[in-house]
């Protein structure tokens, strides 16, 4: 058990290195000279050789490639992700930290919505398999997986925000502001997990232990909740945990629709402004989150399964 955890941790290290290297490469793959881009972005009227050289000096671009990578990596580990091209007075770390809370709030809220909706619905679909509820939900799941999130956002905004006037459509601040965007971010995950939990429970219902529980005359509710649901959750919990970074990255589109002042809005405006260090840090952040959540939930699954956990 301990050995497994250590092995998993060690395996994550090269992956983190690869991710950081790709992120670093990213800024160096820009077809033009980053220093020149930085000057252009700051709307320097005339770009002279000296200005470029000065900017290179400032960004540390005149050093050899690997030295720069190491410098950058060490900087990242200390929380220094460089400075914004658009506004050199601002650090990237500061920009990201300013937008992060709003995005985490949104992702957290949508994760809660996903859990609260998908588990009961998936459960009901499984126990009433082929009943009217299951059929309606299966249809809904099929359609929602084909719906682009931004369109769902627009529809909700118009129907609930504008037409009915129940919830605000723009900006953030109160919990009412959170509901529409959080639901929009979560919708495709809700349908994914309804399907996952339903199918997993149906698979579990075919197992011998359910037959034996019936043979022993256990109450139906206990068989469904205590045995089948728990066994399915066991498998689904990993998929759910690993979807958290995807939820965070999924906010990028929805934030744009609802003018939510989070990382997504920052990222899109950085793309338009060619503020490469911000984009680079954003990609790095999501990549690292992805690896970390994978790791944590993989280990959690192992720890919570008595078959995999060795008891001495």
């Amino acid at each position: 058990m301990k050995r497994y955890v250590i092995r998993r941790l060690l395996l994550a290290i090269p992956l983190l290195f690869a991710i950081s290297f790709i992120c670093f490469m990213f800024i160096n793959l820009i077809p033009s000279n980053p220093a020149e881009v930085a000057l252009r972005v700051q709307q320097m009227p005339v770009i002279t050789e000296e200005a470029i050289a000065e900017m290179e000096e400032m960004l540390g671009l005149n050093k050899p490639f690997f030295v720069r990578y190491l410098d950058w990596l060490v900087g990242c580990l200390q929380g220094d992700f460089g400075i914004s091209y658009v506004n050199p007075a601002r650090t990237v770390a500061g920009e990201i930290l300013r937008s992060l809370p709003a995005t985490l709030q949104l992702a957290g809220a949508s994760f809660v919505i996903v859990i609260v909706l998908s588990i009961p619905i998936g459960f009901l679909c499984a126990i009433y398999k082929d009943g009217w509820f299951d059929r309606i939900m299966r249809g809904a799941v099929f359609v929602t997986t084909a719906m682009p999130p931004y369109w769902v956002g627009l529809l909700l905004m118009w129907a609930i925000g504008v037409k009915l006037g129940w919830l605000p459509t723009n900006g953030n601040g109160t919990w009412q502001h959170l509901i529409l965007p959080a639901f929009t971010v979560g919708l495709s995950y809700i349908s994914t997990y309804i399907r996952l939990i339903r199918n997993n429970m149906l698979e579990n219902m075919k197992q011998d232990y359910v037959l034996y529980a019936n043979v022993r005359g256990l109450p139906q509710k206990s068989i469904w909740v205590k045995h089948v649901l728990k066994n399915s959750m066991h498998t689904c919990i990993v998929a759910m945990g690993m979807s958290i970074p995807q939820l965070i990255s999924g906010t990028i589109v929805v934030e744009n629709v609802f003018s939510w002042p989070g990382l997504g809005t920052l990222c899109i405006s950085s793309i338009f402004n060619r503020d490469y260090p911000v984009i680079q840090t954003y990609v790095l952040l999501i990549g690292v989150l992805f690896v970390v959540f994978n790791l944590v939930f993989d280990i959690l699954q192992t720890v919570s399964d008595p078959r995999l956990r060795k008891e001495n």
Binding site: Y212, N214, V215, L218, Q220, S222
Partner: protein
């Protein structure tokens, strides 16, 4: 004397979109108190299907008709809650894959006590005492420790004995053993069969022993029913089946067995 379980023209068919597939085509037999009935047949002959149909543990895709009377009470058409009360209580059942029959996420003690709680209003202390007594009766060493174990930490033979223990602890009138010896090794098989013979002697239950293994059946069963493709093809005691069976399928099973026995004896005598 009234039979404990009496099946009369029991039919089971699998209902699917395109066609109705008949799995059990009218099976009739009965079992008395203190008697052990062996049901012999290959896999797919409908032997455990007919028992499951009588107990109401087939899902709704299966259509069951005919009659199955338990102590004179009709089982077919009874509500699922009433059947649930009988299962694990008056009707005990032992299944064939002990290792996969227990929920891997719960300790053995938990799974024993949930069964007790489903049928009796016992307190936590009484449940624990009775669980330990039951394990002792099943000759399992260190019962306190076993209660704290997860299913994967125990052997197939041990789990099978726990299953028999659970099935008998509610003083059932009928004990159904569905291929209880198929998934375990030869020595444990021997012990399990002895256990079942003891139960038959001591508890005076009616027992149904389902198997495809003529050897195992001959050790415990007083009377044998041979099933082939959903119909009863032969009925009688072991002697009758061995010497007077008329059905070609039964003969085939017997010849296979006598052939094995002959070679076994030959080997014992030193020749091969």
């Amino acid at each position: 004397m009234k039979p404990v379980l009496e099946l009369n023209q029991l039919q089971v068919s699998l209902h699917s979109r395109k066609q109705n597939h008949e799995l059990v085509k009218g099976v009739t037999f009965s079992v008395m108190q203190g008697e052990c009935l062996g049901i012999l047949g290959e896999s797919g002959s409908g032997k455990s299907m007919s028992m499951k149909a009588a107990m109401g543990i087939l899902d709704k895709n299966f259509l069951v008709s005919g009659s199955a009377k338990f102590l004179g009470e009709e089982l077919i058409g009874k509500s699922s809650e009433e059947l649930r009360g009988l299962r694990g209580g008056k009707i005990g059942m032992v299944l064939q894959n002990p290792i996969t029959c227990f929920d891997p996420l719960y300790r053995i003690g938990n799974q024993i006590s949930e069964t007790f709680m489903a049928h009796r209003k016992w307190g936590a202390k009484e449940i624990r005492e009775r669980s330990i007594a039951m394990l002792n009766k099943m000759k399992i060493r260190n019962p306190e420790e076993v209660l704290e174990k997860y299913p994967h930490q125990l052997s197939g033979g041990m789990l099978q004995r726990i299953m028999i223990g659970i099935a008998t602890s509610m003083k059932p009138s009928l004990l159904i053993a569905d291929e209880p010896t198929t998934a375990i090794d030869a020595i444990t098989q021997f012990e399990i069969l002895n256990e079942l013979v003891d139960i038959k002697k001591n508890y005076k239950v009616a027992m149904i022993f389902i198997s495809h293994d003529l050897n195992a059946i001959s050790r415990v069963a007083d009377r044998i029913v041979v099933l082939n493709q959903g119909t009863v093809v032969d009925q009688g005691d072991f002697h009758h089946i061995i010497h007077h069976a008329t059905d070609p399928y039964t003969r085939l099973l017997i010849e296979k067995r006598t052939d094995v026995m002959r070679r076994y004896k030959l080997a014992l005598q030193g020749g091969v």
